[in-house]
């Protein structure tokens, strides 16, 4: 039963990363590449009617985590206290930037909220990448010092960084050179992803420039992916057991690789949707590969005293998980229906939606 909820949770998180990921990417494009008022409008029109619904995937995934794996929810949310609070504040700034910009027609007002939206999106991409890095690297569960736990076995607390920025230090920080590297991967990936979404949903001159940007950034991304894979192996030997015993799991890295290489053909695509499909494939593939190789571990322990948190030792009780299945299936069908309706209503280009005009 907990395996089912694990898959549900990961699908929801993956959906969140792909959907809100393009919003963050659009924010980064807005910050660095959209120059004229018309181009900025194009960016906000492309995500305006969607970002709010996309963010719901995070909240809903949080709810499912709370319900199905309460121990992990309690452990990780209190342990990653500071970065989570920063993420919350950034999410507030992102939303406020988007929603308030058009409320007053004044250059300074618009400039403030443009920056709030752009910078918050940039930092959110960084933090979510770093978050993945933290999960991969693991944490000092039970806050072991000199071989003795100072807390219950599944609790910990991470400072934002330690002076050495070393992922292998005893007192880890949320940000070290390894998690920072993954943050950088996330920024580049989501910039490409967001640019693809803007190309798909709008039709201004910005799109031609974005195609060039995507082409160049893709080389950067390829280099970063290779580098982080090697360093990953150095920080924590990449667990290959699952991939060795279950060959079908290789589908995930293959999907990721196809997504990444496909994007080099960005200038030859006939359809505006192709780029977005390839960047989604890359995100899905790399996310799923990470999850599949870690399974059943959810949060690795970096000490020998306390065991890692796994799908099995953090799950809620059997009865609750089973009754949850009933309402979840009903809700999931409804969600699919809403999304079909939403995509049909807002199909095609969004240039005329007039997001944020009051």
């Amino acid at each position: 039963m907990e395996i089912f909820w694990f898959i549900v949770l990961m699908v929801m998180l993956g959906t969140y990363v792909i959907l809100d990921g393009y919003d963050f990417g659009a924010g980064i494009v807005h910050l660095f590449f959209a120059k004229t008022e018309e181009e900025k409008k194009a960016v906000t029109n492309a995500i305006g009617p969607f970002w709010d619904a996309n963010e719901v995937w995070l909240i809903a995934a949080g709810g499912v985590l709370f319900f199905a794996f309460p121990t992990l929810y309690a452990s990780a949310f209190s342990g990653f206290y500071l970065p989570l609070m920063l993420v919350l504040w950034l999410l507030i700034f992102r939303a406020v930037g988007l929603e308030l910009r058009g409320q007053v027609h004044n250059r300074m007002w618009e400039a403030i909220w443009d920056k709030a939206f752009g910078i918050a999106s940039f930092l959110l991409a960084l933090f979510f990448g770093a978050a993945l890095g933290n999960v991969v690297r693991g944490v000092n569960l039970g806050m072991v010092e000199n071989g003795v736990s100072t807390q219950e076995a599944h609790y910990f607390f991470l400072a934002l960084w330690n002076p050495t920025f070393d992922p292998l230090a005893e007192h880890q920080g949320v940000i070290d050179w390894f998690t920072l590297l993954l943050g950088l991967v996330a920024i580049v990936t989501l910039t490409i992803h967001g640019a693809n979404w803007i190309i798909l949903k709008t039709s201004t001159d910005l799109n031609q420039r974005l195609k060039k940007v995507i082409f160049k950034l893709n080389f950067v991304l390829l280099a970063l992916v290779v580098a982080s894979a090697c360093l990953w192996h150095y920080v924590k030997p990449f667990p290959l057991n699952n991939l060795q015993t279950h060959y079908w799991l290789w589908i995930f890295p293959i999907i990721g690789a196809v997504g990444l290489t496909g994007l080099f053909r960005i200038n030859k695509f006939k359809k505006d949707s192709s780029g977005f499909i390839f960047s989604s494939m890359f995100i899905f593939g790399s996310f799923a590969t990470t999850i599949a190789s870690l399974f059943p571990t959810l949060l690795p322990s970096t000490n020998r005293v306390n065991p890692s948190l796994t799908v099995h030792n953090v799950a809620a009780h059997e009865y609750g998980l089973s009754v949850g299945l009933g309402w979840f299936i009903v809700a999931a069908i409804l969600v699919v229906i809403y999304f079909i309706i939403q995509f049909r209503v807002f199909k095609g280009k969004m240039d005329d939606v007039g997001y944020g005009e009051h």
Binding site: I59, A60, Y73, A74, V96, V345
Partner: protein, 445 residues
């Protein structure tokens, strides 16, 4: 340890108090916007469509504030109250996860269509998308109050040897005797906020002689919704909610009403007075004999237990706060009924739009429903203390073990600063929308 608990409590109380300023308007206003839209579809009077569009602008802003301040609420169960989440997550996680799955997706998907899709959808589907937003917001309130009700009156659970609460009866969560009275009472409260809000903006337009056609529509619909909801707020829903407290949390009831000692021959109802905790009595009190017994048990001489009958370890931790919260709520609720009944009477007689002094009062009433709703929630939450799960788990046992007081204070201060900014921006923009008025060129598509 004590500092740590204090900062965690302050942060949760502050963020939830600020957050709930927005959903209470969202829930009530969504119904009123749907009403305007429906009225337009029936009468084809463009004014009603413009009225609905005008309120949608305020609604959109208010909704966005509710969303951004709501996400921290879901996170804070885990960040600040980890032990509580770990032990009860199998139960309250159910209703919270259901809220995400059932109402947030519904609200957010259709809100986009409601705000940007009038042309794309056509009028009828546009009305329908508004109806969906309304349903989503009311479903959200329902599931939150189901969670709240479980904490007030735990049902359908068993406790394992390791201290974890596990669910053994799912439907019990929704048959909880605490749930329906609280939910209906809360929704009536939210309608009172939105009715007074709409009526106040209408009164402002009438008094300042601008947008008078809309002023009349707003005052009229505000008063009609207001008189119904403020009566329902007190009776039957407030009455039910209070009887629940008497039955399941008698010690809370004694503190709420300010009864330090059991009185023979029936309890008085206290209108005004200040609790003196040192000498266990009320100072400067004004009270009416025997009324409380009658309201509670429909018998003038029924005995109501005072605080003296309960062990001090289970007394609510903040008796004066609880007492004031309750009395502010009830006092304001009574005033709401008075004002709305009078306004409704004058409306019926056709004199309301000319009765300036009452329009002034309506205009200045804007903050009071917010205060009353907040005071009501303080009554509920302070009334549950010192427990997190009533009678089963104390608040001090629920806090995150690894978050230091310094970190908790840091984030509390951060929230205070950030929310102060949000509040100022919200006020500024709402005032701007109101000043522009419903006849401004509509660019919302």
């Amino acid at each position: 340890m004590e500092d740590m608990i204090l900062y965690n409590r302050l942060q949760f109380a502050f963020t939830i108090t600020f957050h709930y300023l927005f959903p209470q308007l969202t829930m009530g206003l969504s119904l009123m916007i749907v009403y305007f839209k429906w009225k337009f579809l029936r009468t084809k009077n463009e004014d009603y469509n413009n009225a609905s569009k005008f309120w949608m602008k305020i609604f959109a802003l208010n909704f966005a504030m509710g969303v951004v301040t709501g996400i921290p609420m879901e996170f804070q169960f885990g960040t600040n109250w980890a032990k509580f989440s770990e032990l009860t997550g199998g139960i309250i996680g159910q209703t919270l996860a259901m809220e995400g799955m059932f109402s947030f997706f519904l609200e957010s998907s259709f809100l986009g269509m409601f705000l940007f899709g009038e042309k794309l959808l056509g009028q009828k589907l546009h009305f329908l998308s508004g109806l969906m937003v309304f349903l989503g917001s009311w479903a959200s309130g329902f599931l939150i109050i189901a969670t709240h009700s479980w904490m007030q009156h735990p049902v359908g659970y068993e406790i394992l040897e390791n201290g974890k609460f596990v669910l053994n009866n799912f439907s019990a969560l929704f048959n909880n005797p605490w749930l329906w009275p609280s939910y209906l009472h809360n929704q009536a409260g939210s309608l009172v906020t939105s009715s007074f809000f709409v009526a106040a903006v209408g009164a402002f337009y009438l008094l300042s002689n601008r947008h008078s056609r809309f002023g009349k529509i707003f005052v009229k619909s505000g008063v009609v919704f207001g008189v119904i909801s403020s009566v329902i707020l007190a009776f039957p829903t407030g009455d039910w909610a209070a009887k629940n407290v008497v039955k399941h949390q008698p010690v809370t009831f004694a503190a709420m009403e300010g009864i330090f000692e059991t009185e023979k021959g029936g309890s008085e109802i206290i209108l005004i007075g200040q609790p003196d905790m040192e000498n266990k009595k009320l100072d400067n009190k004004i009270a009416v004999p025997n009324v409380l017994s009658f309201l509670t048990y429909q018998r003038w001489d029924a005995e109501i237990k005072g605080l003296n009958e309960f062990d001090e370890s289970i007394h609510p931790t903040n008796v004066p706060g609880l007492y004031y919260g309750y009395h502010i709520m009830v006092g304001l609720g009574t005033i709401f009924i008075g004002i709305m009944v009078l306004a409704a009477f004058l409306l019926w007689k056709g004199r309301l739009y000319k009765t300036k002094w009452l329009l002034w009062i309506l205009m200045f009433m804007i903050p009071f429903p917010y205060i009353a709703n907040t005071a009501g929630w303080y009554t509920a939450e302070l009334g549950r203390q010192p427990w997190l799960v009533y009678n089963l788990m104390r608040m001090v046992d629920g806090v995150s073990p690894t978050v230091s007081s310094g970190n908790a204070l840091f984030t509390f201060l951060g929230f205070v600063g950030l929310y102060l900014l949000l509040g100022l921006l919200f006020l500024l923009l709402v005032l701007k929308i109101i000043r522009k008025g419903p006849e401004a060129k509509m660019t919302l598509k």
